[in-house]
Every structure is written in structure tokens, then in C-alpha cells.
Symmetry: C2
Subunit: 286 residues, 2 copies
């Protein structure tokens, strides 16, 4: 049985509850982060905690825990899940709006939840064959903050799945492309790697890819249009639970030659090496 | 102590909890309704339940309760709160996405929550003096469904309050005006009452106002622009917990002569009479 940290206590997953008058339940108000482990070590914990702090601030919520306190709680939750024998774990951190006396505005203490679970594996074919994504006319509310407001994302994902796609990329009225529902997006034109830098949730995996790409390719962080994306030589998406996934089709249009590209493969290998490096080296002191 | 109905049981408010792996907590996924009582009788229960069914359907959730079952549960929850001696009650109905094994898609049984609480009173001056509202460039995700996704509404409301306003009206890129964060909006040009009919959450109070207005004024349900709104003779907003509230200022601009208008007052009186009628007549059989 997985163990969750809920508002000060460690409890078995099937007994983990929060009050119904928390603003997360009443108003969908909460910030969150999703981490993964490599070889049992949480990956990019500092970066995730930094982003959590940023999200909480943008949403006008409170975060009455220091980074050191959050780190200690997360590592302790992970330790208590050792008996669950996950091959790798997901660590989901949620900071809720807390109990609201008026059912609308947040006035009280937020709640901290840390949910550790077996990390799901994506199909091997995603990486070897590439995937299809769809486009959707929509956008993220408050793009810079990672909130639990996933209604539009959930609906976009349902539509994407119904069309045999694994993700949906948001396209605005002017044909601008920014991000997918739960992934960042990149394209290659020749040896030039391009990814949007504005109006996105800046992914942790995206950050590593940009860092790794600098020594391998020309890198441009700028606005991107759907027209450019469709003409790209290679497209890929990134995310914590999916890593780097080659995209070979957008709606009905094939990208490049319809196969994962060699530059994308190069970045997939660089990312694997970076993760292996992390797995062998990381020690946290709580 | 208020009594809540939570997923099959009646519990004191301070012991009412739901599992943290419900999609309401993980993803802000849930539909809701807010009712009020007049003289202890729930007002427009049938209409609210109809809309709940509609919201649940639009959000792709499930509603495994019949209208008769929902009515029985709501009335029983209200009955168990008789000892709380509310002057009037709010009844908040939430249908969650239910527990999700993959933390993202809904696959299981939704949860039904019925929260009964003392209905808040708005300041008398709102009605006698009128209020200010602000404009905000934003829109509701999935306008037809009443979801717990209130992040943009919460942020808009915070900004409005900081400017001494009680509400914020969404204005789109083309200057179109549709609705406020938690209210519908109307304007009078002479004896002509105008309110948007598209891209809104169709309020229950709005429905009564349209019905009552038919015998008193010329009524137009159509798209509305901010420019028209600012030139209006009278503006008002409606909602379950606020009733009919005259608007005398939008951002920095005064509406009409800056006082609540006589036509708005006429509708406020008609609505009061309608509610009094309800309070004296309604009997539900559960």
C-alpha cells in the first residue's frame, strides 16, 4: 500500500482524505508538481520546488514551508514507500487553497499533500515509432503557474485520445503554438532547435533539453506558429513522465519523413545519459 | 454544527472529507450548483438539478443518480440542518470526478456532496446605492458548464475587490461582453432590456428575470459589447446569492446618472414578489 503525506501525517493511500471545504474541492484551487525518480532518487527536486513556489505565488496562495522543510517531507514520504517496491516512483506534490469559511476566498492555512505512487511506463512504440498529436484552439489559464485546473486539458486529452493521438497542442487565434496540455513542444529545422519561451508552463524536462542542446545544436527560444511546425524536419514533445517523445504526425499531416528524426534521437540519448548520471550520484540530506 | 451529505453519509461539517485521489483534488474536476432557500424552501431546485445534469454531461462526468434521488438526498440534508437555525440556507451540490487510478482520467464512481450552510447576506448598500464592477480580458472555459474550475474567476474577483468593485465582467478580444465571474449581466437602453444569450452560464436567477421582464419591458437576448454597456441607461447583475444588484459604475465610467435606475428597481421588486410567492407555496415530496 502506497503511503501519502497529508497535512502533517503519513497515511496509507486508501485512508488519505482532505476536508470537503478545502478550496481544492470547492473551487479547484491548488498548485501542484509531479516528479519522477531515477533509481529511486527524485529527479530535479530543487527545480520542481522552485516552480511550485512560483505557481503558489502567481495563484495568490500561501506556502508556509521552507524549501528545506518541503525537501525533508518529500524524502521522508519517499522513504516510507520503500516497501512498496516501485520500479520507479512518481511524487505528486499538491498545495491546496485550504479551508475557506466563505466557500470562495482563501483565508486559512493551505494543505500540503505528497502522493507517492508507481510511475507509469509509456508504450515503447512512442519512442521507436513516434506519436501523433492533435491541435486544439484553446489556451492555459495563467500559463506560468502549474495549477490543478485541468478541465480544458482533460477535455483536450479526451478528444486527442479519440483520434489516436497522445497529446493536444494549443493553437491560438493567430496560429501561434505554445505548449501541449501536459507537455512542452520543440521543432527542428535543419540543425536549428526551436521552442516557445512565452505563455508556457516552463517544463523541468524542457529546461534540461535546452541545456543539453546548447552544445549540440543552434537553439532558438521564440514564438512559433502552427505553419512552421507543420513544415519542420522533426518535432518532439517533453514531460516528466514521458521524457522526450518524437512526434511524426500533427492532425492529418506527416512531419518530416514520418519517422523519429536523428536529432531528436540524439537528444533522447543525451537526456538518458543525464538521468543515469543523476541516478548514480544524487544524495539528498534532509 | 452544519451537517453535510458526503458520498452516502450525513456527517458533521468538521468531519466531512473526501479521498485525496479524487479528481476534484487532483485535477479540479467537478460540477456544482449553488441554491438558496426562501423561508427554508430550496428555490428553483428543479432548474438547478437540470443544469447540474447538463454540466456533468458537458464535462464528460457521470451522474448515477436520478433527479428524484438527488431531490430526496438534498431535502434530507436540509432537514438534518433544521437545528442549525439558519435564517436562510445555501445548498451547495458538488459532483466530483471520483477516484482516478491514473491520477488523470475519470474511470470510477463520482462522489456526491451536499453542503448546507448559513446563506451570507450582501450589504444593504449594494441594492440602495448600486455597485461598481470592473472589466477583465478573459473568458470562462466551457461556458455552458458550471464547474469547480474557478482559478480565473478567483483571480478576477481578487483584482475587482482590490479596486473596490464587487464583480468583474469578462470582455473578449472583440469587445464582446458575456457574463461576470459569478453573475449574469443585463442592461437597459430606454425600456429595452438586453442580455447576452451565447457563451454564458445560463443563471437560474437570470431565467426568472427574463420571464418576469417579458410583461414589463421589451426584451432582447443577444450579443452585447462593452461600448453598448457603457452607454446604457441602467446596468444590473444577477446571481443566486446576490439576487438583482444595480451597477452604477464600470471601471472608471459612471452608468446612467450614477444611481440605481427605476426599471432595475421594478425588476428587483418583481423578483422579491416571485420569491415570496415561492416561500409561501412550495412543498416538495421526497
Amino acid at each position: 500500500m502506497d503511503i501519502y503525506y497529508v497535512d502533517g501525517e503519513f497515511v496509507p493511500a486508501d485512508r488519505a482524505v482532505i476536508p470537503v471545504n478545502d478550496l481544492a474541492v470547492l473551487r479547484g484551487l491548488g498548485a501542484f508538481e509531479l516528479l519522477r525518480t531515477y533509481n529511486g532518487h527524485p529527479f530535479a527536486l530543487e527545480q520542481h520546488l522552485q516552480r511550485l513556489e512560483h505557481s503558489v505565488h502567481k495563484m495568490g496562495l500561501l506556502l508556509p514551508w521552507t524549501t528545506a522543510e518541503l525537501t525533508r517531507i518529500i524524502l521522508e514520504t519517499l522513504r516510507r514507500n520503500e516497501t512498496s517496491a516501485h520500479s520507479e516512483s512518481n511524487i505528486r506534490i499538491i498545495v491546496t487553497g485550504g479551508t475557506s469559511p466563505d466557500f470562495m476566498t482563501h483565508q486559512g492555512q493551505p494543505r500540503l499533500l505528497v502522493l507517492v505512487s508507481e510511475m507509469p511506463r509509456q508504450p515503447e512504440a512512442w519512442y521507436s515509432e513516434g506519436v501523433k498529436i492533435t491541435t486544439m484552439k484553446s489556451r492555459r489559464i495563467l500559463p506560468g503557474a502549474k495549477s490543478i485546473n485541468y478541465l480544458s486539458a482533460t477535455l483536450a486529452m479526451q478528444k486527442a485520445r479519440a483520434k489516436g493521438a497522445v497529446e493536444s497542442v494549443y493553437v491560438d487565434r493567430d496560429g501561434g503554438v505554445y505548449e501541449c496540455t501536459t507537455s512542452n513542444i520543440f521543432m527542428f529545422t535543419g540543425d536549428r532547435l526551436v521552442t516557445p519561451g512565452r505563455k508556457i508552463l516552463s517544463g523541468i524536462t524542457r529546461g534540461f533539453i535546452l541545456e543539453l542542446a546548447q552544445s549540440l545544436f543552434e537553439v532558438e527560444v521564440r514564438d512559433l506558429t502552427l505553419a512552421e511546425l507543420l513544415r519542420a524536419d522533426e518535432v518532439f514533445i517533453t514531460g516528466t513522465n514521458k521524457g522526450v517523445v518524437p512526434v511524426v504526425q500533427v492532425d492529418d499531416q506527416q512531419i518530416g519523413n514520418g519517422r523519429p528524426g536523428r536529432r531528436t534521437s540524439e537528444l533522447m540519448q543525451a537526456m538518458s545519459a543525464r538521468a543515469a548520471d543523476h541516478a548514480s550520484q544524487t544524495t539528498y540530506t534532509a
